[in-house]
């Protein structure tokens, strides 16, 4: 497949939506928009007045069916270089330098089929939401389950959208686990994702599942090492690690 040349372009921020205390979604209109595949990311580059440049990668949250714009959901990392600038300085109408879409490895599209098991920790849910939005935009009926680990209920990104999917789509089921504080009266999981939890969530899919795991590295390691002994083909387990953030 011939590849388009990936060049930096100036995206215009057309909307900023707070998702949780620590995350915001930024809608960017791109002059050279190109359809991504769900799961891909863009690089964001900031340039200081003295010429110093720094880049970070952020997953696309929006579906590729949304033409002309992309939405990036960004977690604010307190000692970060890029995310505090995006959160605290950028306003609607500003321009941001981006390059993408990048990353053909961690992608799912309807043609790949399922059943689909999505496992996310913290803001690792962002590329998984792109897959869910793509699935919804295509009106696909591929069975999908998502297992999503958050510290507290306030940290759950896209909560209302998960509720809407669950209400209107019999092929969709969401499972939440809370590692620090669960909601009052919560009867679901309240621990880090472990092999027993994975075995329960994957059960109806068995070894047929296509699994996408995104989150802090230690979460991804724990999930991947629990999945392999269950007999899933290794090529059906796709992982994206984003480093040491603890969830």
């Amino acid at each position: 497949m011939a590849q388009p040349v990936l060049e930096w372009q100036e995206g215009t921020v057309t909307a900023i939506r707070p998702e949780t205390r620590q995350t915001k979604s930024f809608t960017l209109a791109l002059p050279r928009w190109m359809a991504h595949r769900a799961g891909m990311h863009y690089d964001v580059r900031l340039t200081a007045p003295d010429g110093y440049q720094t880049e970070r990668s952020y997953s696309v949250a929006s579906a590729p069916e949304r033409v002309g714009t992309i939405e990036l959901t960004v977690e604010r990392i307190a000692d970060g270089e890029v995310s505090p600038y995006l959160h605290d300085v950028i306003v609607t109408g500003d321009q941001i330098e981006v390059r993408g879409p990048i990353g053909g490895y961690f992608v799912w599209e309807v043609a790949l089929g399922g059943p689909l098991l999505l496992i996310g920790g913290g803001s690792g849910v962002v590329p998984l939401m792109a897959m869910l939005r793509h699935r919804a935009a295509q009106r696909a009926t591929v069975p999908v389950r998502i297992l999503y680990s958050s510290r507290t209920p306030e940290d759950v990104i896209y909560r209302s959208e998960f509720d809407a999917f669950a209400a209107g789509d019999r092929g969709f089921e969401a499972f939440f686990t809370f590692t620090r504080q669960a909601p009052p009266g919560w009867s679901g999981y309240r621990r880090r994702i472990d092999a027993a939890m994975l075995a329960e969530v994957i059960k109806p899919f068995g070894t047929q599942a296509r699994v996408y795991v995104c989150g802090p590295t230690l979460l991804v390691e724990a999930v991947a090492s629990a999945l392999v002994p269950m007999g899933l083909p290794i090529e059906h387990i796709r992982t994206e690690r984003f480093g040491p953030t603890g969830v």
């Binding site: 990936l6 690089d43 990668s57 990048i102 490895y105 994206e240 984003f242 480093g243």
Partner: protein, 94 residues
């Protein structure tokens, strides 16, 4: 953090996806689906699936099967160095 060195390295590890942009700078294209054959164990893996260590002056990409160093990338103000002697080959689709 009260982790030993091995745990610390694991916690800081990312994967080839995380350096996809840097690979675009080097190769001019998305390399995450390009395949690298490990010179040590002959396993073939998508570059997006390689273990990536980025918390150093350069980037080290390691084989997910045997952990051998497949490639090292170092950028200086004037040059980019790639030491890919740990790969028998890189294969990318046209």
């Amino acid at each position: 953090m009260n982790m030993d060195d091995a745990d610390m390295n694991t916690a800081l590890m990312v994967d080839g996806n995380a350096v996809a942009g840097q690979l675009v700078d080097v190769f001019g294209r998305d390399m995450t689906m390009a395949v690298a054959r490990c010179a040590a164990c002959a396993r073939e893996a998508a570059m997006g699936a390689l273990m990536a260590f980025t918390h150093s002056p350069g980037v080290v990409l390691r084989c997910p099967a045997c952990q051998a160093a497949i490639a090292r990338i170092v950028e200086t103000p004037t040059s980019i160095y790639i030491d890919a002697r740990g790969a028998t080959f890189l294969r990318m689709t046209r």
